[in-house]
């Protein structure tokens, strides 16, 4: 069971001189490790998160964000074969491979991919712990028998990963940190004995520790290039010079110190299906079943003190594809009554193409929500912070998402671009917003209208607005304020040079 690759001796006395760093404080170091950690390191994760495996036939590279040089952080295998290396400037990389496909790295996509990989690793063991940004750890000691040994497990995992087009380097070691080191060093090793670790130190470059560059540089000045050199340093001086955290890290790697890891927990979801006693042809007859499903959902959410940001309702038909409804909420909610109200509004506006045989209700991720105090005196209304979100949901459920919006000013001279539609309830503006010297109208027309009713109109102005020649939406206008006989103040303009007619753009209200 406890096997080692022949690449290294099973028992390797790395301690040659009585250095403080290496005198084992514990006599323990039992030969068979209590835990075995599988580390999967994904050296090309930034690019693989951007391009699916099928597109890897072309050389591609991901560049760093917020970097004027646009340094390459990761490239796919084809690009690597053509000489692209992480750390190159973009100009150098393009000179080398002119057809290089370049993408800016997306940290969010990398996080999502790592999350998927952690979920994938759950097939080997229930104890999985992602190590951002680019590795996943799994405790596999208990699973080795099932999968036929450490080597077989690694082969199986590698086959699965390369099948989805991911380049990975795997390693097994008695401590999570040592497994990470081995995986990052791409040694392809399975170490199952605790006392085998120090013997490997000479083959682990400092880079696999991922320590700060200045630390690695300082160690380089001492002539230390690998872990073996590091372990020869005296403990006390090492801790004094480089900090106790790094010493702790080394101890954790060598199994002298326990390093607890956070377990990856797969988010729970609600997925329930209810067959109707008889087919329902109208939305109103779906209500009782919907109510029961939502009551289940409400109990599920209350038990977990969670809310959902939205849900999906599938109406299943006998022969047709299901009718799918999606409901998004402005604020995570667990209120079954409110959800039923919103879904009923949606159902009432969704014609049923065929009788419905069953309902299926699914949620996305659950979000923790703070339970709200039921207020006896203020009766919810004004003091209720959820009222704003609930109103937004109700209006959108009936009127459609686009019919309800917010507005937001934009610092821009062109009047039609000085505002934009925004999600209501965004961040408050940095007050005070600078007032424009000539006042702006409170009402804006969606499109400027031709203006030709000049009866009794008095005009003052102009205010000249010339802007936007650089982005193709050139504006060269003279704006005037016009008083109509009815007492309405209008904002009108004329294009410059004064060839075109007059247009009405706003009303002062």
């Amino acid at each position: 069971m406890s096997e080692s690759r022949p690449a290294f001796p099973a028992t390797a006395p790395a301690v040659r001189q009585p250095s403080l760093a290496l005198v084992p404080r514990r006599a323990a170091a039992t030969a068979a490790a209590r835990e075995l950690w599988l580390a999967a390191h994904f050296p090309r994760l930034p690019i693989e998160a951007l391009l699916p495996a099928a597109q890897s036939v072309r050389a591609a590279a991901a560049t760093a964000t917020d970097d004027p040089r646009r340094t390459i952080v990761s490239c796919n295998e084809r690009a690597a074969r053509q000489g692209i290396r992480p750390g190159m400037g973009l100009a150098a990389a393009l000179a080398l491979v002119p057809g290089l496909r370049v993408e800016e790295r997306q940290p969010a996509a990398e996080v999502a991919l790592l999350d998927r990989l952690a979920r994938w690793a759950l097939q080997f063991t229930p104890v999985v712990s992602p190590e951002p940004p680019d590795a996943v750890l799994a405790e596999v000691k208990g699973s080795l028998d099932l999968f036929g040994g450490a080597m077989a497990l690694c082969r199986r995992a590698l086959a699965g990963l390369s099948g989805s087009g991911l380049g990975a380097s795997l390693a097994i070691a008695p401590t999570p940190r040592a497994a990470l080191w081995l995986a990052r060093a791409e040694l392809g090793m399975t170490v199952t004995r605790s006392d085998a670790l120090p013997g490997l130190a000479a083959r682990l470059p400092l880079s696999c520790l991922r320590w700060p560059p200045q630390t690695v540089a300082a160690l380089g000045e001492l002539g230390i290039r690998d872990l073996a050199g590091l372990l020869r340093l005296p403990r006390a001086e090492f801790a004094m010079r480089f900090g106790p955290e790094l010493l702790d890290e080394l101890d954790a790697g060598l199994g002298r110190r326990r390093e607890p890891r956070r377990r990856h927990v797969v988010p729970e979801r609600f997925d329930d299906r209810l067959d109707l006693p008889c087919e329902a042809a109208t939305a109103i007859r779906l209500q009782p079943a919907l109510g029961r499903l939502l009551a289940n959902l409400g109990a599920f959410l209350r038990a977990r003190a969670c809310g959902i940001p939205g849900l999906r309702l599938d109406l299943l038909h006998r022969t047709r594809m299901p009718t799918r409804l999606r409901l998004g909420l402005a604020r995570p909610s667990s209120d079954a009554g409110e959800l039923q109200w919103l879904l009923s509004e949606r159902l009432a506006r969704c014609p049923l193409p065929a009788p419905v045989t069953a309902l299926r209700l699914r949620t996305g991720m659950l979000l923790p929500i703070a339970p709200r105090d039921a207020n006896l005196l203020a009766r919810g209304s004004s003091a209720d912070p959820e009222a704003t979100a609930r109103l937004l949901d109700r209006l959108r459920a009936r009127l459609g998402r686009d019919a309800v919006f917010g507005v937001c000013p934009v610092p821009e001279h062109r009047p039609e671009r000085a505002w934009r539609i925004a999600e209501p309830g965004g961040r408050p503006l940095p007050a005070p917003w600078p007032a424009t010297a000539p006042p702006r109208p409170l009402w804006m027309l969606a499109e400027p209208q031709p203006f030709d009713d000049w009866q009794g109109v008095q005009v003052s102005g102009p205010e000249r607005i010339e802007s936007g020649w650089w982005d193709g939406h050139d504006v060269r206008r003279d704006y005037y304020v016009a008083w109509t006989r009815a007492g309405v103040r209008l904002w009108i303009f004329r294009e410059r040079p004064p060839a075109g007619g007059w247009f009405l753009h706003g009303v002062f209200g």
């Binding site: 007050a431 007492g487 103040r489």
Partner: protein, 208 residues
């Protein structure tokens, strides 16, 4: 001599019958001459106000703007919406921001059907989520207006319903009814009906 008495009268445990102010809770309109004419000295909170406007843009928003700023700044810990339901044009964010209204609290609703406006207004008023609800509607029967008035009371939100002046002679359950007429040098506000007050006329109010 009066100081001990004043101190005694200020004592929180002393309650005097005369200090109960009758009349509705209000928010000042920002126009002194109009405040003097309105019971409670301002726009009624938790009630429906109906404003008859001859044409969009005569100055109805400038009339409300000071009160809207007060209402929007109220309760910064639990901010509420200023809802614009079916406005005739788009509220222009830079002008609102320059006037001091935080545009992140604006909620613009543009329903397709006319009846949806009144439905949305009832929802907005009754939800308690709005510091003010501004609605533009053509036809609104007595029943619908009564529902709006009740919703405003329930949600403790002031509602402002803008309608054309041809509805002037219809009965209305609104707590306050105004008719606006514009002139080159200001806005005339005629108070048609006012719960707890007298009809009146305030001339040349919002000067451009």
């Amino acid at each position: 001599m009066t100081d001990p008495l004043a101190a005694l009268l200020r004592h929180p445990r002393l309650w005097r019958g005369g200090s109960v102010t009758p009349g509705p809770a209000t928010v000042p309109t920002g126009f002194r001459r109009l405040d003097e004419r309105l019971p409670g000295g301002g726009w009624p909170l938790s009630a429906l106000t109906e404003i008859l406007v001859p044409a969009a843009g005569v100055g109805e928003i400038r009339l409300l703007l000071p009160a809207l700023c007060t209402l929007a700044a109220d309760r910064p810990e639990a901010p509420r919406w200023i809802a614009w339901l079916a406005p005739p044009h788009l509220p222009y964010a830079p002008a609102l921001a320059a006037a001091g209204l935080d545009s992140s609290r604006m909620l613009v609703v543009r329903p397709r059907a006319g009846f949806d406006v009144l439905w949305a207004m009832e929802q907005a008023l009754g939800s308690g989520a709005c510091a003010a609800v501004l609605g533009w509607a053509e036809a609104a029967g007595d029943t619908v207006l009564r529902r709006l008035a009740l919703a405003a009371e329930e949600g403790q939100s002031p509602g402002f319903l803008f309608r054309p002046p041809r509805h002037r002679d219809e009965s209305s359950p609104a707590a306050l009814r105004l008719s606006l007429s514009a002139h080159a040098d200001g806005l005339d506000v005629e108070i048609l009906k006012c719960r707890g007050g007298m009809p009146a006329r305030v001339t040349r109010l919002v000067r451009p």
